[in-house]
Symmetry: C2
Subunit: 201 residues, 2 copies
DNA sequence: ACACACATGTAATTGGTTACATGATTTC
DNA sequence: GAAATCATGTAACCAATTACATGTGTGT
């Protein structure tokens, strides 16, 4: 097996952004790959220790300007090599589990209106996420970036997210339309129907 | 806490299709919700026992025509109620983890060509899955179904899958285009470029 | 005779979340 | 001086996969 995924995210983040502490690494993860990857402290701190013991990262001793005590780390050459090797290995897709789709699939056995509610929530969350991603994209384009060597890859994943969300939102409209004829029932929350899918500006 | 997801899939499957054994339940899962949900035997058999002990399902005693010894189960009224309650609870989305996107994101640090390889594989797998789903859809439409009360929900999830896959495939084309200018490197496997995205017939 | 699909299960391990414990620093 | 956020960590728990063990029936 040997799937230490957490370790590799940390290596990858440190490769882009050296001298970060566990706390910062987590924040960076949330802000950059957050929409398709998450890590908890309970996973990060122990892994940081382990990576240090294996010589893949080193705790920064210098530049003790840090206000509260905190430990920053950087990649060693061995760590960078390790990251590169992992990147070359075919990706492994872990078994998918989408509770939203599952509940929808079993919608026949749900009380009337339930599935519609789920789809509504799905829509709202996807809209929210989509606007976040579009903002991120705009910032990235406008701001510095561009010339950074990581930029195209970062854009690629962003574009992927945007494309998936748009398609999910389109689907959700047709899904609601389909269920409204026949389901309906007690459909609360008519909602001011805030526009529809955000478009790129 | 309290997310017994496995238990609910089993209840849901038995609600649609009673008198199934653990082995069959697993097959049914793979064939129906397989593209967004998976279960292993190590999870199914113990859960079956537990659900029996809780009175949510009953082992079928009758109709012992089954060639090899095997235990079939059916929902009890309590089990059906339990399923309904669970369906009404807002879905919980578990933290996303997409190793493909992660490796792509760190593509800057990969050897040349690596990211392209990943995308190629991604494309192939999505094409395969898409054709499978389209076949399923065609069968479902043509075949019996239609009138079954579960049909619209089943279609909804299928349509979702198809939409997501199409959008992913479109994205992958543009991604390859983007990486080909600059990456390239030693791009093996020029591949006979088997058409592109399958269209609906 | 051999292999493969049917069929049921258990044990070990792991990957991961959650909750808890603790304390410093900033901001209101 | 209270609250929020920065910051690091540990322990308990759990869901799930994997590998193993075992045996029957079917087809070649």
């Amino acid at each position: 097996m040997q799937r230490n995924q957490t370790a590799y995210v940390i290596l990858g983040i440190l490769a882009i952004h050296p001298h970060q502490s566990g706390y910062e690494i987590r924040k960076t993860i949330q802000q950059s790959v957050g929409f398709f990857w998450g890590e908890s402290y309970g996973q990060i701190y122990p892994t940081l220790k382990r990576l240090g013991a294996e010589g893949l990262i080193v705790p920064d001793v210098s530049a003790s300007q840090t206000r509260p005590k905190r430990q920053e780390y950087s990649l060693t050459p061995a760590g960078h090599l390790c990251l590169q090797e992992w990147l070359a290995v075919p990706y492994r897709e872990d078994p998918p589990r989408d509770e939203f789709l599952l509940k929808l699939f079993f919608g026949r056995d749900a009380a009337p209106g339930v599935s519609i509610q789920h789809i509504r929530r799905f829509q709202e969350e996807n809209r929210r996420l989509l606007t976040t991603l579009l903002e991120l994209e705009a910032m990235a384009r406008a701001h510095n970036s561009q010339s950074l060597p990581g930029f195209p890859f970062w854009m690629l994943t962003l574009n992927f997210g945007v494309a998936q969300l748009r398609s999910a939102l389109e689907w959700s409209e047709s899904a609601l339309a389909l269920l409204s004829t026949g389901e309906a029932g007690l459909v609360s929350n008519p909602q001011p129907t805030n526009s529809t899918v955000p478009e790129k500006p």
